[in-house]
């Protein structure tokens, strides 16, 4: 009897260990998959870099990097074709610059209003509206620019067409506001209350406190906000494709029709023969675009990190 019991216990123990082993094996497999999924972000990012280099670099066998960057003529179908991306580069720079100049003062002022001036209830009502703005698709903003803003710009500046860099820049300014407002507001919120109280105690008005205490203390956060807004503006595609006018010359004035790097890719890639020169050139444009936004975003991340460390003791 005792022996039987012992045998049963042993058998149960064996099957239990087996079950546990099988469970453990199953878990190992799942955990392996989880690890692979964890690596996915790196895989996709490296994949993008690899593809841009692989498809884009061959163009430099046809045209030198110098001619590519500074050439002023983009004629992919002429004979022989020329690939100078200066018109796109200058357009992107010009539109981004104007958009930033418009969006930064408005965005930072809006953030200061929300975090320092507005009664709590008003601020709580306004924030969701700013979030909605962030959610409006870029093609919708392009359409608004096309239908509503471009006639205004055309008549205000007496232009032949309202589809020009300025119109695109105004729409982009509006689109980069949400990120500028929310990141700046976070930075302003992080300013310790003691700073403001000390300022008030010295007899400073609310505005003097905002201008001389809050904004300087939050400056690196605001700088990050601006950089993120710039990154957004450089990479924005549909809006500039629809309202910037699409001219291929190097723009001289903001009211010229123009084509940004993003718009050049979007409008050209459909007609480009796969693996052909234009295809390669457009991937090279994508490579430059990617390098640009990556630099801007990494700088923003760096600055933001510094801001975070500032007030944590």
């Amino acid at each position: 009897m005792a022996m039987l019991q012992r045998q049963i216990t042993a058998a149960v123990k064996v099957s239990e260990t087996r079950l546990r082993q099988r469970l453990r094996l199953g878990e190992r497999v799942i955990e392996g998959w989880i690890f692979l999924a964890g690596l996915l972000a790196i895989v996709v990012l490296l994949g993008i870099i690899f593809i841009l280099f692989k498809e884009g670099l061959p163009i430099f066998a046809y045209t030198s990097p110098w001619e590519f960057l500074f050439g002023t003529e983009w004629c992919p179908v002429s004979d022989p074709p020329t690939f100078g991306i200066a018109p796109f580069f200058v357009s992107t720079l010009m539109i981004t610059l104007i958009a930033t100049v418009i969006a930064v003062p408005v965005g930072v002022a809006c953030a200061a209003y929300l975090s320092e001036v507005a009664p709590k209830r008003v601020a709580e009502a306004i924030k969701p509206i700013v979030e909605i703005l962030a959610g409006i698709p870029s093609v919708m903003m392009g359409f608004i620019g096309l239908a509503l803003l471009s006639p205004l710009v055309q008549s205000a500046f007496k232009l032949n067409t309202g589809l020009c860099g300025l119109t695109a820049a105004i729409m982009l300014a509006l689109m980069s506001l949400p990120i500028i407002v929310s990141v700046s507001e976070d930075a302003l919120h992080a300013v310790p209350r003691e700073f403001k109280e000390a300022s008030y105690a010295l007899g400073a008005t609310k505005w003097e406190t905002i201008w001389h205490v809050c904004i300087p203390s939050a400056l690196s956060g605001i700088a990050a906000a601006i950089l993120l807004g710039v990154g957004r503006a450089i990479g924005e595609t549909m809006t500039v494709l629809m309202v910037a006018g699409g001219a291929l010359a190097v723009p001289v004035s903001p009211t010229d029709p123009m084509t940004t790097m993003t718009a050049a890719i979007a409008s050209g890639i459909g007609n480009a023969v796969r693996g052909g020169l234009q295809y390669q050139a457009l991937f090279a444009v994508g490579l430059i675009l990617f390098a640009l936004t990556l630099t801007v975003n990494i700088s923003a991340e760096r600055v933001l990190e510094r801001q975070k460390r500032k007030f944590t003791r």
Partner: protein, 287 residues
Amino acid sequence: MTTGVVNSRRISQRTALTFLGLATAITVVPVLFIIIYTIINGGAAISWDFLTQFPSQAGRAGGILPAIIGTFYLMLGTLVFALPLGVMAGIYLTEYARDNWLTRLINLAIVNLAGVPSIVFGLFGLSVFVLAFNFGLSLLAASLTLACQALAMVITSSREAILAVPREYREGSLAIGVTKWQTVRYIVLPQALPGIITGAVLAISRAAGETAPILVVGAAFLLPKLPQSPFDQFMALSYHLYTVSAHVPNMPKETVWGVALVLLVVVLSFDMLAAAIRIKTRRRKQS
């Protein structure tokens, strides 16, 4: 003298605060204007036929059914690829990853992935999914491309949601002999679910509005029938709005605003759904 200084300070204070209020108005008013204007102008075009018919005369007449269906397929496709992988990545980062160079590299990749311009994702999708994987210009290639783009957002929101689950839950579970994976699967994930869903809903709402990537990897303007398989081309609301507003001459204004309204309603209703889930779970946690 002193009163003059006080007065000028008071005036500059008033001017400055007015400017701040004005800046806020400049941010808020266009949003309300765009939404109200679109509802008024697009509302006239909305009818049962507009939502359930195929387009005719190059989109000038008829409805936009295939574009609506195409957009929903895209959202579904994005969700199917991005959600499981994104959540698993979130689990890895919160439950398994140690604080080492690899983890820092992953986090760096996520942040930068979020900043990659959408058209660059389009180029990536074209080269990898359309050409290298030979999926062609198709719903599948577009879904995968949009999923790559949505990945950063899904990972970030899952990570935040999982991080917010109190440590005691895990410790209690581990203490009674439950394995690590079972703890994650049956204790942590259910707790983090609302946060994960919020992120996923936002991500597919973003995918519904994306135009530049699908323009490169397979959206078509007019198709005679709905996509029958993942390898077919498709129509989408966002791409339809782009074409009818920028490329079709003599387009009835009303119809374009109608397309814009439908797109806006789809995108914003998913945004609101996400907000509703967030508010509801926050309330439940407080009580």
